[in-house]
Symmetry: C2
Subunit: 435 residues, 2 copies
């Protein structure tokens, strides 16, 4: 066996991902040593409770509740605790003690990324976080390195497995949101408290990370517009299918160019209509995919499992090998390049196409009234379809596809439609993405 | 403007990719400087003939025929000449003079990779080659870095745009090979001499590079089994469609585990049947995609443009930025990890499923004879469909789907079928990949 140098690896957290990382580090020790050019010696695993029940058997002598002591003298620290504190304090402590750090903590990076990257820059350490953006899908290196010489124009990502699972089953089975959610919870695809997933908080954190990388700028989580999928129902799914679309929860990161105001970006998470022929429409179940449009490279897509303990562990271990190689090679770490300082526009200033479904009185002149309100609101109609909706045939349903319109105009126009007297109900207003 | 250090960049070659790289380096100079942390100063472009006509305007004062002089003192050398010599000599010269090198030269890496990587290792330089494996698709960093902590089991790649374009049009239009090829040549999708593409040489070079990376082992080009697509005709396309498949030219890199002989790999390029529901079946036109199955990460797919001057230039520039960042950071380059030394098995020892199409005499007992020959040859039948083939109804067509069989057994069995007297013609024998 090759006589490699030993690197001390400290693991913080032994949950679903952490326990898999610990297991793989030990199972594949020789192979990892060959790849990293160093023995990766797992010197300890910091946990809150040594006696807590765990899925995977971990050597008891490695478990400790003293994370501070474990971090001292570690060459590589892997943070898989999740949450903001104490994860933030430990990561900063690790960086300042000279370790390279690996983390899968999207909440922490989306809220305290600049602080952590600055700390690493100060000491020439590097922060690795491939597992924080789209689980096992390698997306960080492609964005940070492979596309560093290109200009990313847009990212559309399905970055939350739980919501994709729910929407996919609603689409394919015609089921209602609440029923599929209950099922997803029973099957382990959704948490007991599903808020972080179904309200788009998880996707928003990932969107902030992806946009920062893609546009080389700092994206605070507060600047990400966020809507969840709890309002999506069978009626909207059916209407989407009828019009040739599928509803997906998308993280959209977009570069906007304005002749007067220059460049800015928009980062937003919401359920949107995607054409059935678009590659993102074929992403089923709990899978994730990130579709990237770059000026020179054209369209790229990265597809794979977005979550899962062992899948995420793969991304973490790739980072550990990279950190080890850099540790051996010497030199300072590659800092984040976030010099662009692009302004982030509110969602009201974004333009997209829309699909509006209305229930209207079925009487002469209604379509003319609706069309007039849209036109007055600077919303141009691309397609319109009227069908009988109510059982008593007193109401009709209008499906209106718009040309690109400013979100603010659209939103004000919909308010005016709702108050117009001829519209009984605004059934749904959904953006169309991916043209 | 930030006061960055200057790095001297030398470009060898000003063809479709080279001229785009030169243009983008100058167009995006400020942005690239921010990302790389250094001014990337294009100090010269080595060409064979300064007065040759070029698609893109290049500043004449940068053009030189003296590559040797250009390489001396360059921090980063970009080799986009193609071919083995003088590209090999220049690359080695650049490495030995202390430069980091970027190349898109798959032919060179597939044949002289170890020599070049060793030379870089000796001096602590790094070789970047994202554009050599799948054009603009970021696949090198995901395989080398992101999946470094995982075990890749299999890669199935559509890595040649020309052949995918031809096969896709044959599939969707029911056209014949020769007609689509002629059309592809007229449209610029195929070279005047299409041999490198349609005979699978280009794909074989890429397969060697991908397999080396994925399995951390050295894969000589001679060890790659290679078949082209010139024998694929409309009849085979129709039979494939009828059976629920599409024919794709695949680069398959597979890890084989045998209880007795241990681990080995197989690397092969051939037209194969892919289930229509497989993500690779939806890769249309001249696009490429690399499907990766890894032990922990599960299934991943990377999709995008496989060729094109500006697309490939994106990958090259990403490498240039990486090389610059490393140059600034200091430390030695990350060498290739090829310590596994896995044996490469000949294609005869590979097992896959097969789809066999036969024209047989339409008389009693023929199916029994055919089934007997298959069974004697250790080829187990999964599905069989008999239809009338000849216009005089003297012959019938047999479509046989096999279970997994050893290529050597299958091939001997097909020979026995052909010589059996009851088989008029072996219409086609195609492997099925991607189960």
């Amino acid at each position: 066996m090759t006589d490699y140098r030993r690197l001390r690896v400290a693991l913080l957290g032994a949950g679903a991902v952490g326990s898999q990382v610990a297991a793989l580090l030990r199972q594949h020790a020789d192979e990892l040593a060959d790849r990293a050019g160093a023995h990766l010696e797992l010197v300890g695993i910091a946990v809150r409770d040594i006696d807590a029940p765990r899925e995977t058997d971990l050597p008891r002598e490695l478990l400790t509740t003293d994370a501070d002591a474990l971090i001292v003298g570690a060459d590589i620290v892997i943070e898989l605790m999740g949450g903001i504190e104490p994860a933030r304090t430990y990561l900063l402590q690790a960086i300042n003690s000279g370790a390279d750090v690996v983390t899968a903590n999207k909440a922490l990076l989306a809220t305290h990324g600049p602080e952590i990257f600055d700390a690493a820059d100060q000491v020439g350490a590097e922060v690795y976080y491939e597992a924080a953006a789209a689980g096992a899908i390698p997306i960080i290196r492609p964005l940070r390195d492979s596309l560093a010489g290109d200009r990313v124009q847009r990212i559309m990502g399905i970055v939350n497995g739980t919501t994709n699972y729910i929407l996919d089953r609603m689409d394919t089975e015609g089921a209602e949101f609440a029923d599929v959610l209950a099922d997803a919870q029973r099957l382990g695809y959704a948490e007991a408290d599903p808020t972080a997933d179904v309200e788009g908080y998880d996707a928003a954190q990932k969107a902030a990370i992806l946009a920062s990388l893609a546009f080389h700028t700092t994206v605070p989580l507060e600047a990400v517009h966020r809507e969840g999928i709890t309002a999506i129902d069978k009626t909207m799914m059916d209407a989407a299918r009828h019009a040739g679309y599928v509803i997906k929860l998308l993280a959209v990161c977009e570069r906007l160019t304005d002749a007067e105001t220059g460049e800015s970006i928009s980062v937003r998470v919401y359920p949107a209509l995607v054409d059935r022929a678009h590659p993102l429409a074929s992403v089923h179940g709990a899978n994730n995919a990130v579709f990237v449009q770059a000026e020179a490279a054209g369209n790229l897509m990265f597809y794979g499992a977005g979550a899962g303990g062992v899948q995420t562990a793969s991304a973490v271990l790739g980072d550990v090998v990279s950190a080890a190689r850099r540790h051996i090679a010497g030199g300072v770490g590659v800092g984040e390049s976030t010099l662009a300082n692009l302004p982030i526009v509110p969602v009201g200033r974004v333009t997209t196409r829309y699909q509006i479904t209305l229930e209207v009185d079925d009487q002469p002149g209604v379509l003319a009234t609706v069309a007039g309100i849209l036109s007055d609101g600077r919303v141009s109609i691309a397609t319109v379809e009227q069908t009988v909706a109510g059982e008593d045939a007193r109401t009709a349903r209008l499906e209106i596809g718009t040309h690109k319109a400013l979100e603010q105009d659209l939103s004000e126009t919909v308010d005016r439609l709702a108050a117009s007297g001829v519209v009984e109900r605004v059934v749904s207003v959904l953006r169309v993405e991916g043209d």
